[in-house]
Homo-oligomer: 254 residues x 2
C-alpha cells in the first residue's frame, strides 16, 4: 500500500509568550508557529487553551473586590472554601447540577456543565486572582480565526479547549468550549458501516475529540497552550460549541 | 527553534482483514502496519476498536438463542425494543444507572457506565447477532501487546477503545475500556504550572484522550479498526482500565 496512509499530526506550538490582557492571540500564534517551523496551513485546526484566552480577554478578577452573598457565605462555611470564590462560581452559573461533598458541579451561563463553573485559581499570575471562562468562547475562536485569515490568507478551524471531569470515570479530559470554522459534530446518520448495517451511533463529537487529542501535547505544566492539528478533514462551516450542549429535555442527568 | 517541535502522529492502519472468531489480532495488526509502511516501533500506542476484539474473542450471540426474562419482556414492551436484546443488556450489567425515555444507561460487569451495557448490533456480519464487550478488555489488550512483543521484540502500549455518550454533552467520543503497558492516568499532583501555582487538576485520563484521538482516524464507517499513535511519551507500567472507573463512593452521579 506504499506510504499513502491516513495520518493526523498533533503539533505543539512552543514559544508563545506569557499572555496579558489585550494581547492579540492570532498574531502570537502565527509568530510562534512560524518560528518553530510548523507554520499555519489551510485546513489546520488550531486548538487554544481556555486559560490564555481568558487572560487575553481580561477575564481575571481580584478576589479582594468580591463581596460574597449570604448563600455564598453559607456554602463556603459548609465546604471550607473561600466565600469570594464561591460567590464568583455562583455568578458564572445558570444553575447548580450537583452540590455535594464539597463539589459544585454547575451549569455555566453558556450551558456547559463543569466543576466550579470554570472558575479557576491556577495559571494566573499574581496572588488571589480568579480566572473566568471567556464571555463567549465561540466569539473568541472566531476572532482568532479571522485574525489568522486576515494576516496569512488561510482558512483554519479554531477550538477553545477546557478541562472537564466526568461522571463515572476518573481523571479529566479536555473538551471544546468554543468553535469556529468547523462543524463540531460529525453525523453518520444514514451511512452504512463496512458490513452494510445502518450505523447506530449517529454523531461523534469530533471537536471534543480534537480538544482531547491536543491536550496530550499541551500537558498541564509544559507551557504549550496552543496546538495545531494537521491532516484531519473536518467539515467546514460556521459551527458553534453550543451544538455540543445537550438540551436539558434530552438529558437524563440534569 | 528549528524543527525540534513536539509532535504526535495518529496513523490509521489500513488493510486489516475482516476479523473472525479465533483470529490472532497481534499478527493481523503487525502485517497490516508493515504492509502500509507504518510498522510498529517501541513506544507506540496501538489503539484497537472494541468491535474487532469482541469478534476475535467470539463475543457474538445469536438473538434467536436468547430467552427473555419477564423483566426483559416488560422493558421491551415499554420501550418498543427487541426483548432478546434487552435480556442480553441485563445479563451484561451490574446495575441500571438510568432507565428512562427508552434508554438503558447501565453499569457493565466490568464497571463501565454506558448505554446498553455495550451490547451492539452494528458492525457484526450476519443477521440478528449481537456483539458483547470483551469479558476482560485489559486481558485482551495484554494479549495483543504480548503478541507484538513476541513477534517483533518491541514494547508497545495497547488500548481497547469503545464509543461512549456523555451526560450534558451531545455527540459520542471514544474512551478506553482496556489498557496494557501504560498508566492510563497521568498524575500532576505536586507539580507547579508555569506560574508557580500548585496544579488544581491533578490527573488527566490520557488513555481516554488517546482513544478519542484515535477515533478521528478510525471514523465510524471507514473500516480502520486499528490506529497507531506515535510520539506520545506515556508512563510505562502495568496499568489497567479499571483505574479509569470512578469508585461509586466518589461518584456524584451514580
Amino acid at each position: 500500500m506504499g506510504n499513502s496512509h491516513i495520518q493526523i499530526q498533533i503539533l505543539g506550538v512552543q514559544g508563545i509568550p506569557i499572555v496579558k490582557e489585550g494581547d492579540d492571540l492570532a498574531s502570537m500564534i502565527i509568530e510562534a508557529a512560524e518560528a518553530s517551523a510548523i507554520g499555519i496551513k489551510d485546513g489546520d485546526i488550531v486548538v487554544v487553551a481556555q486559560k490564555i484566552v481568558s487572560k487575553a480577554e481580561g477575564r481575571l478578577v481580584e478576589l479582594s473586590k468580591i463581596s460574597p452573598s449570604p448563600f455564598a457565605l453559607r456554602i463556603a462555611e459548609l465546604t471550607n472554601r473561600d466565600a469570594r470564590l464561591v460567590e464568583l462560581v455562583l455568578r458564572e452559573s445558570n444553575r447548580a447540577v450537583r452540590m455535594k461533598d464539597g463539589h459544585m458541579i454547575m451549569e455555566t451561563r453558556h450551558g456547559f456543565v463543569c466543576a466550579n463553573a470554570g472558575v479557576d485559581l491556577s495559571n494566573v499570575s499574581g496572588g488571589d486572582v480568579a480566572s473566568l471562562l471567556p464571555e463567549d468562547p465561540d466569539a473568541s475562536a472566531s476572532k482568532i480565526r479571522e485574525g489568522i485569515r486576515r494576516r496569512r490568507g488561510v482558512d483554519v478551524a479554531v477550538i477553545i479547549s477546557d478541562t472537564f471531569g466526568r461522571p463515572w470515570r476518573l481523571g479529566h479530559v479536555d473538551f471544546a468550549i468554543g468553535v469556529a470554522g468547523m462543524k463540531p459534530l460529525r453525523d453518520y446518520r444514514g451511512e452504512k458501516d463496512m458490513f452494510g448495517y445502518e450505523l447506530k451511533v449517529t454523531t461523534m463529537a469530533v471537536a471534543d475529540e480534537l480538544a482531547a487529542a491536543a491536550e496530550l501535547v499541551m500537558g498541564k505544566s509544559s507551557g504549550i497552550p496552543v496546538v495545531i492539528i494537521r491532516g484531519y478533514e473536518y467539515e467546514r462551516g460556521e459551527g458553534t460549541a453550543k451544538e455540543l450542549i445537550r438540551p436539558i429535555q434530552q438529558d437524563l442527568f440534569r
